[in-house]
């Protein structure tokens, strides 16, 4: 079986504008979109650029728009597209070359919410104990692989790149819910802003496209409750 695959090329040193290029690729039931891209790179045109690494939906490198929907190339299969198959770089990000985008906007937002444990160990060299119930509170949100599909799906991030966005807010929420963490007061000022949780209009497409079932829309909207509480407390206490 063969498939016509269209790829949106962008070669800034040769063409000012992006253009579509069609490749004819052999495939079977097991050919992933990433597999097809690798065939193109190895057999048809070595100048096609795209990121990938693990091939098992862990590294989060191979995010592309496949027929207009954000997908991980390794987790999506050519057999899913009986008609046309068009691959573009992730929406809402700056395109560097072909299917490669600059992830800087996302990484800046991610850094701003301090996505790591902030805790003073009470007894050094001893483990932080946690019950299964405490783990269950945040475990779902800990599955994020920073692939950026939710940012490509989010129309609010498309309108306003200053929006902290679903992925970073989901990870902020993950650490805020962690019983070992004491950094919530440091994260809330970022989430409380207009560009924090309040830019979300609950479209929910971020959760639809998440390849790891993280449900960032739930994190953002639970974050709104937390943010409203945080602002009320600030108002009554006179400080964060």
């Amino acid at each position: 079986m063969h498939k016509e695959i269209q790829i949106k090329r962008y070669l800034p040193e040769e063409h000012a504008e992006p253009f579509w290029q069609t490749f004819r690729v052999p495939y079977d039931e097991t050919t992933s979109v990433l597999g097809a891209l690798n065939y193109i790179k190895e057999e048809l045109d070595s100048t096609v650029s795209f990121r990938w690494s693990c091939r098992m939906a862990i590294c989060g490198s191979c995010g592309y728009m496949v027929n207009g929907i954000p997908k991980l190339g390794c987790k999506d299969f050519v057999r899913n597209y009986p008609a046309a198959l068009r691959i573009e770089p992730l929406a809402h990000f700056t395109v560097e070359r072909d299917l490669m985008v600059a992830m800087d906007e996302f990484l800046q937002h991610l850094e701003a919410v301090k996505p790591y444990l902030i805790a003073e160990p009470s007894e050094p060299h001893k483990p932080h104990r946690q019950t299964p119930a405490q783990l269950a509170k945040y475990k779902q949100f800990a599955n994020c692989i920073n692939c950026g599909l939710c940012y490509a799906a989010c129309p609010q991030f498309g309108l306003n790149p200053e929006f902290v966005g679903p992925g970073a807010i989901a990870l902020a929420h993950r650490y805020n819910l962690d019983s070992r963490d004491q950094g919530k007061a440091k994260r809330m000022p970022v989430l409380n802003t207009h560009d924090g949780v309040w830019s979300c209009t609950f479209v929910g497409f971020c959760s639809d496209v998440c390849p790891k079932g993280v449900d960032p829309a739930a994190a953002v909207n639970q974050g709104k409750v937390e943010s409203a509480k945080s602002m009320l407390i600030q108002m009554f206490r006179g400080g964060a």
């Binding site: 129309p155 309108l159 000022p189 409380n192 802003t193 207009h194 309040w198 209009t201 709104k224 943010s227 409203a228 602002m231 009320l232 600030q234 108002m235 206490r237 006179g238 400080g239 964060a240």
Partner: protein
């Protein structure tokens, strides 16, 4: 500006009204539409104007006004405001003033009618 008010804004208030209005839209508005729009016109239930007027003048009438008119009005205003934002129309203060202003006028009018019932 004191630290107390630093970084605060009204979005949680609008969102709170939107959330409360959403529950009302889902629960009370369909019930009101069923009773007054379907069951009463079809004659399935009998509505007596005088009894209804007395009921409306009580605290139940105030609750009806809040859950079927005021909160849904703010819910709709919030949704329309964000819809306008998505369409890149009426950014800034104008959409806030117009959307929540209309919801406030509708709410105050409904409460005024109840108060004078």
């Amino acid at each position: 500006m004191s630290q107390r008010w630093q970084g605060l804004h009204l979005e949680p208030l609008w969102w709170g009204l939107f959330s409360a209005g959403g529950v009302c839209f889902a629960v009370f508005v369909p019930a009101a539409a069923l009773v007054f729009g379907v069951l009463a016109p079809l004659g399935v239930i009998e509505l007596n104007y005088l009894k209804l007027h007395v009921w409306y003048g009580s605290w139940w009438g105030l609750m009806f006004t809040g859950t079927v008119i005021c909160l849904p009005a703010f819910h709709a205003a919030h949704r329309i405001r964000h819809g306008l934002h998505d369409l890149k129309v009426g950014g800034g203060c104008w959409s806030i003033l117009i959307c929540y202003g209309i919801a406030a006028i509708v709410s105050v009018s409904a409460l005024w009618v109840w108060f004078n019932a």
